[in-house]
């Protein structure tokens, strides 16, 4: 392999980590980014002649640190940055693995700090942790590049000015802060999994980024819910190729061709779930992953273990009493017992105002009416669902169901 290809691989593999360490050493996101770029530029110049050093990230961190200090001096912002330099100038940047891993975690926790707006957390995490360009972040989040850029700039300014520390939270705060990191990752995943735009192409990259990020997090911070979320995403994403037909139309779980499910990914998902179950068996992501696993292990709707799924939803509802979970529980009960049993539970939910505007509430009711043979109630419910969704594939799906009812 030639050296510049090798350097390219090293860039892919190490640039995020090098930059995460340089943020700590230089105390500034933008400066660290520039220093990282310059370190790789220097590597491209020197390594082809001198050979690739034994520990490339250590070399890059040292080079980047030196460049960063030069940049500070050159810009004559020395006054502003003096305390920082005084503290770090003599410290040799360490490049042992633990330290670098810590820096990666610091970066993740800082980008997902609850003091930043959720939108900013998403953009910053994709930009800084996943290494996407601002344009890529913008297109992934369906924003104008200028909007994304502004969000990122503002977030970085708040980190600096309000002094959001570059650190892994203390034990005491860790559980809550891990939750906020997982929430950001799951939002990234869902943004990729069910793109909210009209044409509804599944945005593969974001889902993959979210999975990659969680795998990394699981290595650095082996907490139960980290494995739980990883399992959940792997299992959901394994159905990627089966969820839509060639026209982009939705295919329900029941009607999916299960041969298209990614078996290898299901296998990885189940492995992550095993880890999660040992640590946090009844935590929300772990429970949701257990439900996804019950589907993944079934050959079809008929041999799905619906009583297990209904039970898992019951436990999940105890943990997170949200109407959406109650809705899913009702559907599982309908599958276990009869559509009428499910409808009874769904009717109990109708008092929740918010769920009345949730198209899946009406779609689920419609489906159960359809199964029970009450076609006119089914039609009315499908129509209400249709009025509540803007997504192209969902609209086509509901229209298709209505046509089927008419011809029934």
């Amino acid at each position: 392999m030639n050296t510049s290809r090798h350097i390219n691989d090293i860039y892919k593999q190490h640039s995020r980590r090098v930059q995460a360490t340089l943020i700590r050493l230089l105390g500034d996101f933008d400066l660290a980014e520039e220093a990282t770029q310059e370190a790789f530029t220097a590597a491209l110049k020197q390594w082809p002649d001198q050979g690739v050093p034994e520990n490339p990230s250590a070399w890059l961190i040292t080079a980047g640190h030196r460049r960063g200090i030069d940049l500070i001096r050159r810009r004559q912002t020395a006054r502003q940055n003096q305390p920082l330099l005084a503290e770090d100038e003599h410290a040799t940047p360490e490049a042992d693995t633990d330290r670098i891993d810590d820096d990666m975690l610091r970066l993740i926790f800082t980008c997902c700090h609850p003091g930043l707006a959720t939108e900013a957390q998403l953009a910053l995490t994709l930009r800084e942790v996943c290494g996407l360009t601002t344009e890529q972040v913008a297109s992934a989040l369906l924003q104008k590049p200028a909007t994304t850029a502004q969000r990122i700039v503002r977030a970085k300014r708040k980190i600096k000015e309000a002094k959001i520390p570059y650190e892994v939270p203390e034990r005491r705060e860790l559980p809550e802060r891990v939750q906020s990191v997982l929430k950001v990752i799951y939002l990234i995943f869902n943004e990729g999994y069910s793109s909210s735009s009209g044409d509804g192409i599944v945005n593969l990259n974001l889902a993959r980024e979210a999975i990659r990020l969680t795998s990394l997090l699981a290595e650095l911070l082996p907490e139960g819910e980290v494995f739980g979320l990883l399992a959940l995403m792997l299992l959901h994403d394994s159905r990627r190729s089966a969820r839509q037909d060639e026209n982009g139309d939705l295919i329900t779980l029941e009607e999916q061709n299960r041969d298209l499910w990614d078996r290898e990914q299901i296998h990885s998902g189940l492995a992550a779930l095993t880890q999660a179950l040992q640590l946090t068996p009844t935590a929300p992501y772990t429970l949701q992953a257990s439900i996804a696993a019950a589907h993944a292990q079934a050959g079809g709707t008929e041999d799905t273990d619906w009583s297990r799924i209904a039970r898992l939803y019951e436990v999940l509802y105890q943990e997170v009493p949200s109407p959406v979970i109650a809705l899913n529980r009702a559907v599982a009960v309908a599958m276990r017992d009869t559509p009428e049993d499910g409808l009874k539970l769904i009717d109990e939910l109708a008092s929740h105002k918010a769920i009345q505007n949730y198209y899946l509430f009406h779609a689920a009711r419609a489906d159960l009416y359809r199964r029970s043979g009450d076609l006119s109630s089914a039609r009315a419910a499908y129509q209400r669902a249709l009025a509540l969704t803007q997504q192209g594939p969902e609209q086509r799906f509901l229209n298709q169901r209505l046509t089927q009812l008419d011809s029934a």
Binding site: H113, G115, E161, A162, K163, I164, P165, E167, P169, E173
Partner: protein, 119 residues
């Protein structure tokens, strides 16, 4: 680094308190300030009189405009402030979370801005 913790709550909640509850809340605040002082985190602070005592001043076109009441009617009213000395935002938030009205109101935490040096 210095942070101001602005304490907001609905004055109506306070008005509904019994003498005893109000007394206990004040004592709890006093104890909190003592604890912050011992930790070296407390610079200064002050609770405020209710908003009906507020008067707002504006100068427009060299004219001083004075009006009764706070600058804006909000659901929660500014009830006092703390000036804290904390290492970073995380510590400031942690200190702020122990300010007693955080349980029924809101604490806004903001870093102070230093004025530029005098010309």
């Amino acid at each position: 680094m210095k942070y101001v913790a602005l304490v907001y709550y609905q004055e109506s909640i306070i008005n509904r308190m019994s003498e005893q509850e109000w007394h206990d809340l004040n004592q709890e605040c006093i104890a909190g300030v003592e604890r912050l002082t011992e930790q070296g985190k407390y610079v200064t602070g002050q609770p405020l009189q209710p908003i009906e005592t507020a008067t707002t001043v504006r100068v427009r076109d060299d004219e001083v405009l004075i009006s009764d009441g706070p600058f804006a009617e909000t659901k929660e009213q500014l009830a006092g402030f703390y000036l804290l000395d904390a290492n970073d935002l995380n510590e400031a938030l942690q200190l702020a979370s122990r300010i007693p009205p955080a349980r029924f109101g809101s604490i806004e935490v903001r870093p102070v801005r230093e004025l530029p040096p005098k010309d």
